[in-house]
Amino acid sequence: MKISDLLVNAAAAFPKDTAAVYLERSLNYRELDQAASRLAARLRRLDLEPGSRVAILFENCLEYLIGFFGVQAAGLVGVPLDTSLASENLNYMLADCGARVLIVQGKYRRHLSAILGDNLSIQLLISDKPIQADCPSVPFELLSDIVGGDGDENPLPSDSFSSDLNTLSDELAAIFYTSGSTGEPKGVMLSHRNLVSNTQATVEYLKLTSDDSVLVILPFYYIYGNSLLLTHVACGGAVVIDNRFMYPEVVLDTLEESKATGFAGVPSTFMIALNKSTIARRPLKHLKYITQAGGAMAPEVTRQLIAACPNQKIWVMYGQTEAAPRVTYLPPDMLEKKLGSIGIPVPGVEVKIVDTSGKEVASGETGEIVVGGPNVMLGYWNQPDETAEVIRDGWLVTGDLARYDEDGYFYVVGRKREIIKAAGHRVSAKEIEERILEYDKIAEAAVIGLPDEVFGEAIQAVVVLKSDCESDEKEIQAWCQKRLAAFKVPKTVLFVDTLPKIQSGKINKLKLKELCQAGAQD
């Protein structure tokens, strides 16, 4: 069984049911399956080698779904790209994965000259807008021409390419890029088995059915957004897309008008909703469940969410891209009793807490979370050394420190690696430090995450200027802005004479955090 079978099965069982809604437009399962099949037929005619990568640079919309499932139906590997990234980052990812086709939304045409200048492997560009003027050297086709279905070219029936439904395929299905501790983004390779097994486990514990629909504000290129998409296609439910969470009232209106039964967010989603919207005053009578993942949410915020949404089941979940993504969930009826816990393993997944020698620790003791099961990634694309660091004897070493209680509920207590979780994004401190250090006025730089009510963590840069140099916060931020995605730009920049170090000469980030937090309280 492959990811494409999720759509084929839904189209067979619920052909006329809504699969996705975006603003005034919608697609039912038959329409989505047909459009994906037509795109797949076009991609197959390129005669690409099996496993060739097709990158998708689209914000959440119906075309994203057609692109994603079209690539899957063609038996190729999808690479959803973060639309908020700078050209430099996109360029890196496209070159790294060696994408042969780029499916790109017209609104991101500004990246094309930089991308296509260096990525000669791309042999076809597909877009929703006529953007051939931006890429005269690469063959171009309009997505609407490919999937329009004028009758000249009947796609092969989608089920003619279905795989054995009883066994999950170990072939590579998708690559999701994520920030790594080494600075450069890492391509997390997920197989059909990884994604389908985790989708099925999630549908099982959330008890999703074809009557469910989820309001999606999280991007599909983000593994949590992708999980929302796959779980709801797997059960024949619907995704209601709204990209306007910057105006929470608009999204809440959509939530009520669409009668969506589910809503999903990261901690900052709920911070914003609770502090700057009318969520607590709305009846939300169709909303049955709320899921929260993407980083630890402060127990106080969970308490506020329970008070604001007393009639909804609230599911706190934990995972990571490398685990496709879900690892644990906290059943709603245990939410108040086990406040602050990430819950218990999802069906079919094993979770252990181990010490530095790999031995399991006793209840109450802190160790590192390791994960075993069909959801553990194949590895990082083109990075065998990085892969060997995190997959040991088949177990995924998460880098998250945790303990479990006498009832078997897990609690995350911190992170081993220097990854900052800012507004739901995983941000590598090292990548930002490297960019800051490229500025010729800077002698030393350290980047840390500080607790922030809205962002979860806020990025704080601490820098030492070279002698006789002058600079200010805005100058450093502007430097970063040109080289990094907006969410990676430090929120604050502190100028110091020296950085605290440990004996080996490494920057003492714990000490630095203490200094910054003490400074913030002054």
Partner: protein, 90 residues
Amino acid sequence: MPTVDTDTTRKEIREFIVEAFLFGDESEPFEDGDSFMQQGVIDSTGVLELVLFLEENYSIKVDDEEMTPNNLDSLNNLVAFIQKKKQKKQ
């Protein structure tokens, strides 16, 4: 209560947005009527900063119900919104 000088207000808010969200980079300028959402100028946390700026600088209170694109999603909309709020106060 003086009436709102729309040109000055427009200029002040533009300066704030360029400084706070574009970090002074005006290489990709936005028009007065451009949607911040469409242009990707401001994200969900940016809107909160923008509202704080409006409340502090124009002595208005932005209610949760008023956080909508009609009020906030372009320079033109922002200026009209501030004008409306000021008139209500008078």
